[in-house]
């Protein structure tokens, strides 16, 4: 029996999850900081929007994304004009979809971690000559480091486990948009159960390892010291 090479699929999945996590940390950090500190009346609306991907069927999100990213869509059309390439059924499109889909998994832990940073400690830093950006780097980031670790790991893992959105906007192009979860679906459809077993087993072990690490991280007492 000859197995289809798995590596391109695994590599593509890891690449998508890596890029998505990077983008999510860049976008999610200011968003979570704003949510943790603001008393703005729009806060609840933004929180609901951020959390929406948790409850929406991926097909709903995928459907709207397909329309928005499509060649005539409000995002897809200008992108096509600018770059000459469509957004749907491409890696870039997958990243956009994954960012939206995994957003709550990154924003929630960061929001919690930022919320736990005492305002009094930040006030003390302000009186010790630290400006806002300095305070964020020297106080907030180290105090919220577990939040960052959890956010990154959950964002990464959730993107690896994504199926519906990718199928809707990325399809199933091996080496281009075929990620692990879709490859499994593909193998099962074509009755190649042995390959499906390998891929499904990989994802199972990976997901378990990630969650185990996250829970261990949350249980461990705060020991690391810096002079």
């Amino acid at each position: 029996m000859e197995l289809t090479p798995l590596w391109p699929t695994v590599a593509l999945t890891l690449q998508l999850a890596g890029v998505t996590t990077g983008v999510l940390l860049l976008l999610g950090t200011p968003l979570a900081w704003w949510l943790a500190r603001t008393r703005n009346r729009w806060k609840a609306v933004i929180e609901a929007l951020v959390t929406l991907p948790l409850v929406l069927p991926p097909t709903v999100l995928g459907f709207y994304l397909l329309i928005a990213l499509g060649p005539q869509g409000p995002l897809g059309a200008p992108w096509l004009q600018l770059t000459g390439a469509p957004l749907t059924f491409t890696f870039t499109g997958l990243v956009i979809g994954s960012v939206l889909y995994s957003l709550p998994f990154v924003v929630q832990p960061l929001h919690n971690a930022f919320g736990a940073v005492d305002q009094g400690v930040l006030d003390a830093a302000a009186t010790l000559r630290a400006g806002p950006w300095d305070r964020f780097k020297s106080i907030v980031v180290p105090l919220a480091r577990r939040g960052f670790a959890t956010a990154a790991v959950l964002g990464f893992a959730h993107t690896v486990g994504e199926f519906g959105v990718v199928l809707m906007i990325g399809g199933n192009i091996p080496g281009e948009t075929q990620v692990l979860s879709i490859a499994i679906y593909d193998r099962v459809e074509s009755l190649r159960y042995d390959e499906a077993h390998v891929l499904a087993g990989l994802l199972l072990v990976f997901s378990f390892a990630v969650l185990w690490w996250v829970y261990r991280l949350q249980r461990r007492p705060d020991v690391d010291a810096r002079p």
């Binding site: 005492d118 400690v121 003390a124 830093a125 302000a126 010790l128 000559r129 002079p227």
Partner: protein, 356 residues
């Protein structure tokens, strides 16, 4: 003059703060008042942590002047704040905490070692804030604030979260502050004994407004202020050390040419000290008293007679030299003598406390 001048208005819900006062360039100014008077809010507004409206100036530096649209953020004001809860950085060691502000300034008249030594922080340097006692935390917070080389030090009830024993351990460090750093210090508290021990100048804050301000000795001797209505009301007088009675272990003090004796070791002769005499410990006589176990008697002139907090008592102001002491006596004895301004009296003092 390095004077701190404050004129701030601020509204938080039902609470309105409207305070105008100043603090001298040297020494400790106590911002004193009951809980809820707005002391902490006022202090935070001076630091720029709360946004009040008005003006805050230290010497020639202007930190806030809303008439000109000027508001300097806290990080650029160059002041030091010690909060009621130390607010140490838990992710850093004690040394890391001390160095936080230190690394962010370039001019350092206060040496790292000098501050560490005077606050006895040496043994704590490698410790984590989580493992420190309440008193140790406040010492670290104090050192951290001083090492940021402030031009004004604001202390917000730094002892309020500590028990009596730890408070007494920290007080000597606070007493040494003016020697360590020659900057104006504003000390917020609702504990009068801390004011008496630490402050030279006093601002009374009540329901968001300044009800009186001036030298500590003047305010404490005024019978018309709410201060005089407290059970522990009493004047603080400045005295000079005249000598030491070896045999009886008494310090001999001079006050306007008269003598006072206090138990305990005497500092060097000629040193200026402050003693506190509680109004409840003073009784008045018209003639020099017959010998009794009361050691201290001061001759003075009645300057005022004011109703006390209890209807059965009056507060009598007695001028001794240039200074005043307070005596709380029953209204009945006041009427019998009768005590009235201008009368020469002999104040018999049951207890005198050295307060620094």
């Amino acid at each position: 003059m390095n004077t701190l001048a404050v004129q701030l208005r601020l509204q938080r819900g039902d609470f309105a703060l409207d305070a105008e006062w100043s603090a001298p360039a040297r020494g400790v100014t106590a911002l004193f008042g009951p809980s809820g008077a707005g002391k902490t809010t006022l202090l935070r507004a001076i630091a720029g942590l709360e946004r009040g409206m008005g003006m805050v100036k230290l010497a020639r530096q202007c930190w806030q002047d809303d008439a000109r649209g000027l508001f300097v953020p806290p990080s650029q004001r160059g002041l030091g704040v010690v909060f009621q809860d130390a607010h140490l950085f838990t992710h850093l060691s004690v040394r890391g905490n001390l160095e936080y502000g230190w690394r962010r300034v370039t001019q350092r008249p206060l040496a790292f070692e000098a501050v560490v030594e005077s606050l006895d922080l040496g043994p704590l340097l490698t410790r984590r804030p989580a493992g420190l006692s309440g008193g140790e935390r406040q010492r670290v917070a104090l050192g951290r604030a001083l090492l940021a080389q402030p031009c004004l030090l604001l202390l917000d009830e730094p002892l309020a979260a500590l028990d009596r024993e730890r408070r007494d351990q920290i007080l000597p460090y606070l007493e040494r502050l003016p020697v360590l750093a020659d900057i104006p210090i504003v000390y917020v508290t609702h504990a009068l004994d801390e004011v008496v021990r630490l402050a030279d100048h006093m601002v009374l804050l009540d329901a968001g407004r300044v009800s009186a301000q001036g030298p500590l000795t003047t305010l404490l001797a005024r019978p018309d202020l709410p201060l005089a209505r407290r059970d522990d009301a009493g004047a603080v007088l400045e005295v000079t050390v005249a000598g030491h009675d070896e045999h009886y272990h008494l310090a001999h003090l001079h006050l306007a040419g008269q003598s006072l004796y206090v138990t305990g070791p005497a500092p060097a002769s000629g040193a200026r000290l402050r003693v506190q005499i509680h109004a409840r410990d003073v009784s008045l006589a018209l003639a020099p008293p017959t010998p009794s176990t009361i050691l201290n008697v001061l001759r003075g002139t009645v300057s005022s007679v004011t109703p006390a907090s209890h209807a059965g008592q009056v507060m009598v102001g007695v001028q001794v030299g240039e200074q005043h002491l307070l005596a709380r006596i029953t209204r009945k004895s006041a009427d019998q003598l009768p005590v009235q301004p201008g009368l020469t009296v002999y104040a018999q003092i049951k207890s005198v406390a050295l307060v620094g």
